[in-house]
């Protein structure tokens, strides 16, 4: 019987079985950032331990960096202290730091792939739950806590329980105006926010075969929102094409050998999965959240659920809590809901292709009056290329603020925050209460183009109607 990519990568990196039945797993690539690493470096200092593989550790700063204030010292002294702490820890331990002055800084899950650090058949860990993003390359990538950051810094390994593997096939063709973001929101809505607990998700089928790397990253990124700590796509020519020539990708004869090796990690056709789910691409429409977790989602044309639609007492309580926070009435359309803020960015949708797709439709349009619209490129490299292409001008002329790279309003650890009960049309990944920096702030997750549609109309809208994206003839 064949093996899945997950099993092959796991076996290649297994150091030993620990007495409690867990596996000590080698982590080939460790990505760190300013929020979850300082305590880990502190723990290392207390124990007098060095960083075991500094060459396999890469740092960037993303969560706390202001996106409209590029000079230090930052006006927030806590943010300044955090960047300085990371700088110090990296210098003392000879860890490569993609600092703000390098032109390579950005959100950790955007920097790893664009530098070619993220590679197929590897294990990756980072103190951030969206590390699942890197699975798009056929890597097994874990979001970890700070004590595990310590473990990886000190030993390059972690103690882990093996996950089960669920294959999710999405076959058929996506309709025009339906994006990778809609696919993952639909998967989470279908399988539940905890449906993936204990599983790695293997995404496959025609839709994933045809997806670009950036689309695959958007889906893998939100695996954790469905409870799956790990999500991945088998590596193929699209993967290799993306990686070729990137700074940390193998070169010359090493490249050819690497591609052969990477291919061998792909799941075997005859491997058995712990579970298989089939989804039809044609069933997916532009999707938006209406509640306070990413599973509380509907198609843009559907009504907001009513409390009575909950199957159990706890489901009814969850719907009621969500409606109360969102200030929505069950049974009413979500389309037409007034928004206050449009946020385009994040590790889910802050990549060049996201910005290009939006700019293509935004040209000649204006953000509705009274709407604050910000575009935050995911990395300095994304910003630089976008500026070379003139995308910044398109965004600025439309009325978007064009910002520096960072996590920004996805989690509001920098000055980009909602105020009061503002409603935000957001291309980010979490609509939790208070997530965007205001306790009463409200978030609706959606694809980047849906964010643009909300920005120009001032309300939750169907981007297909706003931008004249037509269904194919005969659909």
């Amino acid at each position: 019987m064949g093996k899945s990519l997950f099993e092959k990568v796991w076996e290649a990196h297994a150091v030993r079985e620990l007495p409690n039945g867990q596996t000590q797993l080698l982590i080939g690539t460790h990505l760190i950032h300013e929020v979850t690493s300082p305590q880990a470096f502190g723990m290392l200092r207390e124990r007098g331990l060095p960083v075991r593989f500094p060459d396999r550790t890469f740092a960037t700063v993303d969560h706390i960096v202001p996106t409209n204030e590029l000079q230090e010292p930052y006006s927030d002294p806590l943010a300044q202290a955090m960047i300085e702490e990371l700088r110090k820890n990296c210098a003392e331990n000879e860890v490569r730091f993609f600092d703000t002055t390098t032109g390579m800084q950005g959100i950790v899950h955007i920097v790893g792939p664009e530098q070619g650090i993220t590679q197929p058949g590897t294990t990756i860990a980072c103190g951030d739950s969206h590390t699942s993003t890197h699975g798009a390359f056929g890597a097994i990538a874990f979001g970890i806590g700070t004590s595990q950051v310590r473990d990886v810094l000190a030993t390059q390994t972690m103690a882990l329980n093996k996950l089960k593997v669920r294959r999710i096939n999405v076959d058929g063709q996506l309709s025009p105006g339906v994006y990778a973001k809609d696919v993952i929101l639909h998967i989470i809505r279908t399988l539940g926010v905890n449906g993936g607990t204990g599983f790695a998700y293997e995404y496959a089928g025609e839709v994933f075969d045809n997806f670009t790397m950036e689309e695959r990253m958007t889906v893998c990124n939100m695996s954790i929102e469905g409870g799956a700590r790990v999500g991945y796509v088998n590596p193929d020519e699209t993967t290799f094409e993306y990686l070729k020539g990137r700074p940390y990708a193998p070169k010359g004869a090493d490249w050819d050998a690497a591609v052969e090796r990477w291919k061998s990690f792909a799941s075997d056709p005859d491997c058995e999965y712990d579970d298989v789910v089939n989804i039809r691409a044609g069933d997916i429409a532009p999707t938006v959240t209406w509640g306070i977790n990413p599973g509380q989602a509907i198609f843009i044309d559907q009504p907001i659920p009513e409390v009575a639609q909950g199957h159990t007492a706890s489901e009814r309580a969850s719907i009621a809590e969500a409606l109360e926070h969102m200030k929505f009435e069950g049974g009413t359309p979500i389309k037409g809901t007034k928004v206050d803020v449009a946020f385009l960015g994040s590790c889910t949708n802050g990549r060049l292709s996201d910005l290009k797709e939006v700019a293509r439709y935004l040209e000649g349009r204006k953000v509705a009056s009274g709407i604050k619209a910000i575009c935050v490129p995911g990395s300095q490299a994304v910003a630089r290329i976008a500026e070379e292409l003139g995308l910044d001008k398109v965004f600025r002329e439309a009325g978007f603020e064009w910002r520096g790279a960072g996590c920004s309003m996805c989690l509001a650890m920098n000055p980009d925050k909602l105020v009061g009960d503002q409603l935000c049309a957001s291309s980010s990944n979490r609509n939790f209460k208070g997530r965007q920096g205001s306790v009463t702030g409200r978030t609706i997750l959606m694809s980047p183009l849906m964010v643009a549609a909300a920005a120009v109309t001032g309300e939750v809208s169907d981007a297909r109607e706003v931008f004249g994206i037509l269904e194919p003839v005969g659909a």
């Binding site: 150091v15 620990l18 080698l26 979850t36 305590q39 739950s129 030993t155 390059q156 103690a159 905890n194």
Partner: protein, 201 residues
């Protein structure tokens, strides 16, 4: 450094009801602007405990009847969302020794175990029974028995689940794996040498 063997955890409980309580709720992101975990206990569930002016809201964690509780009781998928260890650290530093819920998010569960804070799952009906018993008598002593995989309270006892690997590390006082991981350094080098990308190829 020998770790405590966590076989039983006893104390009074406090119910924080609801499913899908996320780590942003447990510790809002703005409190993560810190380079140590010290003091995080003051901010646990901050935005549901406090109004924006700092006054207290109605919340079980503000309820005098539950003062001194050391076992947190919640719903399903507790700790979903971010991988921030700040969440279990805040719960632990607020004085909690264990969490009982219907289920836990994967990363939160692992982070908590590694801090020596057991997370045990009980069925939905049993959870209701436990919560109601605690609400009726906040002084009720609860004991989580990791050997028998049971939660005792008053004259009742309900089964609980915990992943076997986690249960073993807790009862054997091996919940912090660092020493075991360090001990295998030569084998780590051997596995790393077998992987071309680890040596820059």
């Amino acid at each position: 450094m020998a770790l405590e063997k966590i076989v039983q955890v006893s104390g009074r409980g406090v119910p924080v009801p609801g499913d899908d309580i996320d780590t942003d709720r447990i510790i809002p992101a703005r409190f993560m602007k810190c380079v140590t975990f010290d003091g995080l206990g003051d901010y646990v569930f901050y935005d549901v405990r406090k109004n924006e002016d700092g006054t207290e809201r109605r919340h079980p964690l503000n309820d005098e009847r539950y003062a001194g509780a050391t076992i947190l009781i919640s719903g399903n998928n507790f700790g979903c969302g971010s991988s921030r260890e700040h969440a279990p650290q805040a719960i632990s530093k607020a004085g909690f020794k264990a969490v009982v819920a219907q289920g836990f998010a994967e990363i939160f569960f692992g982070n908590s175990t590694q801090l020596g804070m057991p997370c045990v799952s009980v069925g939905s009906d049993e959870l209701d029974t436990l919560r109601e018993a605690v609400e009726a008598d906040p002084q009720l002593e609860i004991t989580i028995d990791l050997e028998k995989k049971e939660v005792h309270f008053g004259d009742r006892s309900v089964p609980c689940e915990i992943r076997e690997g986690a249960r073993q590390v807790l009862v054997n006082g091996k919940w912090d794996p660092i020493q075991d991981l360090l001990d295998a350094a030569p084998r780590v080098d051997a596995v790393a040498a077998s992987l071309p990308y680890m040596s820059g190829r």
